[in-house]
Amino acid sequence: MVKDHKESSLPLLSINSLQVSVESNIILKDFSLSVSEGEVHVIMGPNGSGKSTLSHVLAGKDGYNIIDGKIDFNGEDLLSLTPEERACKGMFLGFQYPVEIPGVPSGTFLKEAVNSVRKYRGEAEYDAMQFLSLIKDVCKTMDISDQMLRRPLNVGFSGGEKKRHEILQMALLEPSLAILDETDSGLDIDALRTVANGINGLLAPNRSVILITHYQRMLEYIKPDFIHILYEGKIVLTGGMELVETLEKDGYAGLELDSAKKK
C-alpha cells in the first residue's frame, strides 16, 4: 500500500518539472517529487537514469545546467542557495563515493562541520572537549573508533568505513532531509546492517530521507513510505514494496518502463 502524503501545509521538499542537463545531454526531464516531513522515499532506477544527478543538483554541486523547473526546500527556493547554506538549513547528502581529504583528521573535520552548521544557526560552537563527549555515543553506534577519528578523512578507509562515517556525519549534523546516494553500494552484509541500523536510528518524525539505491537488500532493514522508479530522467512509477518484488523477480523489464513512461 502506498502511504498518503502527510497533510501538512507544505511539503519539506517540492521538486516541480525539473529539467537538468550536463554539457549537451539532458539528464532529468520533467522531474517532479514531493517529500513531506518524516517520510522515507526510495528512488530506484537503471544505470544512467539520473539518480546521482538528482542528488548532486539537490546538494548544489556545480556543473549541472538547470534548464527549467523549481525546487522548494522548507518554503525557500533551493536553487538560489549555496551548497553550505543548503547543509546549514538541514539538507544532507550521503555520498556514493565519499571524498578523501588528505592531512585532515576526520575528527577535526567533524568538529568543523558541526560548528559551521551551529554557527549558521546562531548556536554556540563546541570546544574540543564538548565535541568529543558529544560524539562518543554516536561513534560507538556506528562502530567508529578514536583511532579512526585521528586518521585523515576517508583516506585509506575501507568501503564500509567510508559509509559508516557518512552516517556518523548525518547523525551529528541532524538534517531535516537526508539524501543517501547508494549508501549501500560496496558494503558487505555486516557493514550493510550497521549502516542500515544507523539510518534507522536516525529516522524521526521531523526527518525525511530520500534513499537512492540499486538494490532491494537495504529495504530489508529500512521500510520506505514510497518507492519511485526513475527512468530516463523522470519518475515513471511510484508505489510500495510490490515494485521491489517485481524488480527482484523480473528486473526493470518486468516494470515495462517504456510504457509506464508514456502514461
Binding site: 546538494a59 548544489g60 544532507f92 571524498v99 581529504i101 592531512g103 562541520a113 552548521v117
Partner: protein, 418 residues
Amino acid sequence: MATTSKKKKKIDFPYAKKAFADHGLKDEIWLPSTQNEYWKYTNLSSLSRIDFFKNPNNETNLESCEFSIDPYEGGSYDIFFFNGHIVETFLENFSDIDGLSVSLSGNQGNVSIDSNPLILMNQKLKGDSINIEVSQNTILDKPIRLIFFSSKHRNPVAWHPGVNLKINRGSKVEVFEHYLSESNDVYWCNSLLSIELGQSAELDHYRLQEESINAWNTSYNLVSIGENSQYENFSLVTGAEMSRNEINLELNGRDSICSLNGSHLVDSKRVSDTTTQIIHNAPYSKSQEKYLSILGGNSRSVLQGKIIVAREAQNIEGEQLLRSILLSENAEACTKPELEIYADQVKCTHGATIGQLDDSQLFYLQSRGLNLNDAKALIINGLMNDHFNLIRSKEARDLMRGAFESSLRGNLEILGTI
C-alpha cells in the same frame, strides 16, 4: 652587439655602487637581471631603485620594540640579529655551554664569491657576522635560534649579516632561523650562511620567514656535508615583498644524506623564490627535495631545483618534487627542475606539478556546512599537515604549523576567487 647583450644581464644598483665607494672598494657591482638563467623569474629591478641608507648602529634598541616570538618548547639558545646587528648581550649566555662556541667574526667566512653579486655585497660590505662551532661528539640539549628582527625605521635600510656554522664529527644540532619585522617599513636583509658538517654529524636546519609586505630578503646558504652525515632543511616563507632563499649544497662524503623541504604561502604581489642546487660528489649519497607553494592574489612562486651528480658519485639516490597550488587566476608558479648526471649508476627522480584545489573536495566540505573559504583553508591545512610531517623536530614542526595557520587565518584574501 656582445656588449649590449652583456649589459642586459646586469642591473645598475646605485646603492651598492655608493656603498662600495664608501668602503674604498674597486669591484664592479650590479644586480643580476632576468636575462640570467637563474634569475629568469625573479626580477630585482625594484630593489635596484631603492635608495638604501647605511644602517645606523646607534638606533639599536631591542627593548623598545613591539614584537612577540613564540617560544621554543623546552627552550632555545637565542642569538639576535637586530636590524642586521648582533645583540652582544645575548652572546654572554653562550660562555659556558659544553661543546658550543659562539663568537663575533671578522669576516663572512671563506666563501667562494663566484659570480654572485649578492654574496659579493654580503662579504665586502661586512655586516655583522658570527661564528658558531660545535665540537666533536656534542649533542646540544636545546636548539640554536637565530632571530633576524627588523624594527621600525624612517628610511630604507640594508644589512648583510653572516653566520658561519661548523658542526664537528659526531655532533648533533638543531638550528632555527626566524626572520620577522616590526612594521611595514622597507628594508633589505641579504644574509649568507656557511654551513659545514663533519663526519657522522647531524644538523636539522629550519627557517621561518614572516616579514612585511615591503621587505626584501635574499639568503644564500652554502652547505657542505661530510661522510655519513645528515642535513635536514625546512623553510617556510609567508612574507616579504620579494624573497630568494638559495641553497647550494654539496654531499661530499660517502653515505651523506640531505633533505631539503619547504613551502611558500604568499599573496598580494609577493614573490617567493627558492632556488636549490644539490651536488652529489660522493658515492652512496642521498638527496630528497619536496617543496609546496600555495599562491593567492598576484603572487609568484619560483621553485628551481638542480641536482648535479659528479662522475665519481656512483650509486646515489636523488628525489625531487616541486608542487604549486594556485588559489587565484592571477597567481603565477614558475617551476624548474633540472638534473645533470655524469655518473652511470644513479637513481634520480624528479617531478613538478601546478594545479588548483580539487573541486570535489571543496564540494564535499561545503555540503557539510563549511563555507568556501573555510573549506579551502581546511584542505590547505591538510596538505600542509602532511608536508610539515617532513620536519623531524616536533618543536620546530609545531612552530611552523602555528605560523602557517595564523598566516592563513589572518589573511583570508589569499584564498582568492577560484
